[in-house]
Symmetry: C2
Subunit: 227 residues, 2 copies
DNA sequence: TTATAAAAAGTATTATTTACTTTTATAAAA
DNA sequence: TTTTATAAAAGTAAATAATACTTTTTATAA
């Protein structure tokens, strides 16, 4: 049985997930269409209450799994949002996380059932409360991460071409990176394994497929992108 | 009058401040000797409860001011610590901040009164709960910041020599940076004003004093230190 | 007057970044 | 079967930055 303390607690502390995916050359965000007041029908991040006996990380993972069916997802804490009036419904403090997931692999049925939808990050609808700000901070953090570490393991299919990876980086940084220099830089990190297979969908010559090395860690000195 | 919700709230959400200062060539941390059970007599960070009508940032600033007398201090959110069993006294979630303050300028009397003391970061006593982990994360964050931005505005006196600044960086990164290269790099950032005054305490020639420019922003491309 | 010590400036080597050009491989069109 | 087209992949030259030093400057104090 829950004590009154725990019941109250459940209504004070929330998590919100900024869920990034990558599809058709665009960085996308999973958003909910709200089915409750206030702000019924408007779009919001995917959130939930933190239970009295779990960490905020746990809550973020639990909520993500309940909606996408996915587990073992890369997530990172973004920031706490705690202005007393941030939620007109009452005093709610939210810990924001961002997650990187593979759009192909998640449970589409579940997502539909929850009224969720993928939106390209540069064509987002207006979001409720301070969720727009949360998205901006998460994007900033993602860009920071992507500029020091090779992101893509969670966003791309298991086998991908260097062009696929470059397109992902183009989508994250909203710019067009030089193909030759990108290739040189990425290969110098020594974090990918080249397969003996080609993907010929993008060119006549065909591009070699790569996978991420199992346990490669990239030295923080190797900045990938300066932006 | 407070509602029961607010009373409970005050006992669930806390902040802890990792307060950095710089003195005698060492990076120091302001720690409390606990005067309450559990862990009476052991050392901890400086924390406090978040009030029902304030943001966590507000709480961190309020607590810092109450102990150092200082206002308008640079602070940054580090992370939320929320493991259900992190505080044996009960379920407490803590939002950690780090602050950079000028040791000379703070209110020494207040600090003494609170049983607080400055400890060199590489000779810290054992800390209670997960406070050691909090310090490590704050240090990491400080190093990250210092490697992209010129920190020191809040740690050094208003007028300082390039050697002072280099010593601060040496203290932050626990290494000995090359004097010539450091000077070249820092001056290239164009973030300091050179005064027409010298400080002759460190050498016979004397070193020019500098101040931070009022509104200089350093491009994130200019990484100062790679570590 | 000279020795000293750190500040400040200078330099040469190496490494990295950037903006390109050239070559390669292959499917499809002529 | 040859040519054309296209992106992959490799290569390059110039500019910029980092690194490990050396030299010169300045002014106090021996």
């Amino acid at each position: 049985m829950l004590s009154p303390y725990q019941i109250v607690f459940n209504q004070l502390l929330a998590i919100d997930n900024v869920v990034f995916g990558y599809q058709e050359g665009e960085l996308k965000l999973l958003l909910f269409e709200r089915n409750l007041e206030p702000e019924l029908g408007r779009w919001s991040l995917i959130g939930g209450w933190v239970k009295a006996d779990e960490s905020v990380e746990n809550a973020a993972i639990r909520v993500l799994k309940s909606i996408t069916g996915l587990q073992n997802i890369f997530m990172e804490q973004v920031q706490v949002f705690s202005k007393p009036d941030r939620d007109p419904g009452g005093r709610v403090i939210s810990v924001v996380f961002y997650a990187l997931i593979n759009i192909q692999e998640h449970n589409h049925q579940l997502v539909n059932q929850y009224n969720a939808q993928w939106w390209p990050v540069n064509k987002l609808p207006e979001l409720i409360f301070d969720h727009g700000q949360m998205v901006n901070m998460a994007l900033e953090k993602l860009r920071f991460k992507a500029s020091f570490d090779l992101v893509g393991r969670d966003l791309l299919p298991a086998e991908f071409t260097l062009t696929d990876l470059r397109n992902l980086y183009n989508a994250i940084f909203l710019k067009s990176l030089d193909p030759g220099n990108f290739r040189k830089k990425i290969l110098s990190l020594n974090a990918l394994d080249k397969l003996n297979k080609k993907d010929a969908s993008g060119s006549k010559k065909g591009a070699y497929l790569y996978t991420f090395k199992k346990n490669s860690t990239i030295d923080i000195k190797d900045r990938i992108i300066k932006w």
